[in-house]
Amino acid sequence: MSRSTTPPTAGSRPSAGSRPSPGATGRPPRLEVDALTVEFGGLTALDDVGLTVGDGEVVALIGPNGAGKTTVFNVVCGLVRPRSGSVRIDGRPAPATSRLADRGVSRTLQGLGLFGGMTAAENVLVPLTGRPRRSADGERAVVAVLQRLDLLDLADTAVDALPYPERKRVALARALVTDPRLLLLDEPAGGLGADDIAALADVVRGIAAAGTSVLLVEHHVDFVMAVADRVVVLDFGRVVACGTPDEVRSDAAVEAAYLGLEAAR
């Protein structure tokens, strides 16, 4: 857990552009976070963080609690203003929060953020309402995504009455219904059982195979190893490692920062 004394393992400290994503063809990456620094009061939440997510790539952002993972999401979504650094989506600066959907970005939240008092189907319909109207298409998209996540029977159930795994799937469906090009998943496996996690892994791989880029924050290491093409490890707001799941697994700095803790629990 040496933040400043241990230099990052050779080649593990990514800087923007140094690690082109698989299949990159000179186009800008789907998501490019460069030299991001965020301060809350005197606390440095993110310190010179850089990462990229390529087309159809699944990148996992891991690290201990408080490492700044969700803060990265919040900056990408325009909810937190960085002190310095940039976020580019498809080569263009990230838009204001309410324009994210227009730019093909969807996000789930740790707390799910479902709309109480609405049915599952209504929750999933909300992201489509702000778009140019084509209500029949909207209905079809809702039905399709509910079916895909095995929620169709629960479409007209109030979300407040659903068990947690189903609520979680509604939140995922709400993020998927717009057919995003970049999907940010905040702890998608948290609180789920083994079967649900396996199903979720299938869904995430399917999404990526269809070309959607996925950036996910997750504590569940097995899930991360199963779905991620690359893993970025944050500790105290800094990127301490980056690589394929296997590379990261054998990285000493990572073990110290994160996996060691996990094993010791």
Binding site: C77, L79, S98, D102, L125, G130, R174
Partner: protein, 292 residues
């Protein structure tokens, strides 16, 4: 018995006006988490415009449209011009600004139109209709009833069956999440204000012919009753506003009819106190509705 029927049926009509106004308070609470103390004064301004339209054209329909449009525009102006500039972290600053708005608007109306009540003759007769030998509603009460029901059903459809309604609800329940999902939350807040002010203007327009007439304070008592009702029902609950309005309307009518008009406000106060003792959040409130 005849008297009871008359009082209850008249109470229902009065109650629906209260319910409409309470509904307007609920709409604004849900959209912006603020109790708009300026609602009555704004509505009275809109009704002055309706009076002018009525005087100029002689058309009641145009007068109603005038009230609705002016109400909506006032809602727009107040939200964009005032409320949006007030810090929104707690409800208090917005409420204080709203109270200030009441003073400004009522003073302006007083300066422009003086204190006298301008009578408005109702579009329909106010003498009761008879079912057999039993006097019930007047034609005007019936008209109020129909208009109120149409508005309530219309609002229900708007909120529950339209995509605009879905966005309004989403923005009200979870504004941050809604923004992430591409809902234009500030626009929804504005629309909420416009809808609310238009409904309030309509309620006051329906009320005025049953009262002394129109002056700057015409809607003050209505506001107090409607506020009571909104709190009774739970500020978050349209159904609560509707049921509460009917209950308070009938209560006022019965107390006025069997005891005296002077006791009616006490009866309403008693009801409010009792309900708040038993269910502090309001009868229909979801649990966090009034903590925001």
């Amino acid at each position: 018995m005849d008297r009871l029927v008359l009082l209850v049926s008249t109470g229902v009509a009065r109650g629906l006006v209260i319910a409409l106004f309470a509904l307007s308070l609920v709409i604004i609470w849900r959209a912006a988490r603020i109790v708009n103390f300026g609602q009555a004064a704004m509505a009275v301004v809109a009704v002055y415009v309706a009076f002018a339209v009525h005087a100029a054209t002689g058309s009641y329909v145009l007068a109603v449209l005038g009230a609705l449009v002016t109400g909506a525009l006032l809602g727009l102006a107040v939200e964009r011009g005032l409320m949006r500039r007030v810090p929104g972290a707690t409800p208090m600053p917005g409420m204080i600004v709203a109270i200030g708005l009441v003073m400004v608007l009522q003073s302006l109306l007083g300066v422009l139109f003086g204190p006298r009540h301008r009578p408005m003759s109702p579009v329909f007769s106010q003498s009761p209709l008879y079912v057999g030998d039993v006097p019930v509603l007047s034609r005007y009460d019936l008209f109020v009833l129909v208009v109120a029901l149409v508005v309530v059903v219309g609002l229900g459809l708007l909120f529950n069956r339209s995509t605009l309604g879905l966005q309004l609800r989403a923005a009200a329940v979870a504004p941050e999440v809604s923004r992430l999902l591409g809902v234009r939350v500030p626009r929804m807040v504005t629309i909420g204000w416009m809808l609310s002010s238009a409904v309030a203007a309509l309620a006051v327009l329906l009320l005025v012919p049953t009262e002394l007439g129109l002056n700057a304070h015409s809607a003050d008592v209505l506001f107090v009753h409607a506020f009571t009702v909104a709190v009774l029902g739970g500020l978050d609950s349209p159904a609560g506003a509707l049921v509460g309005g009917l209950v308070v309307g009938v209560l006022i009518s019965l107390v006025t009819g069997y005891a005296s008009a002077g006791l009616a406000p006490l009866a309403v106060l008693g009801l409010l106190t009792t309900v708040l003792l038993v269910r502090p959040g309001g009868i229909f409130a979801t649990k966090e509705a009034r903590t925001a």
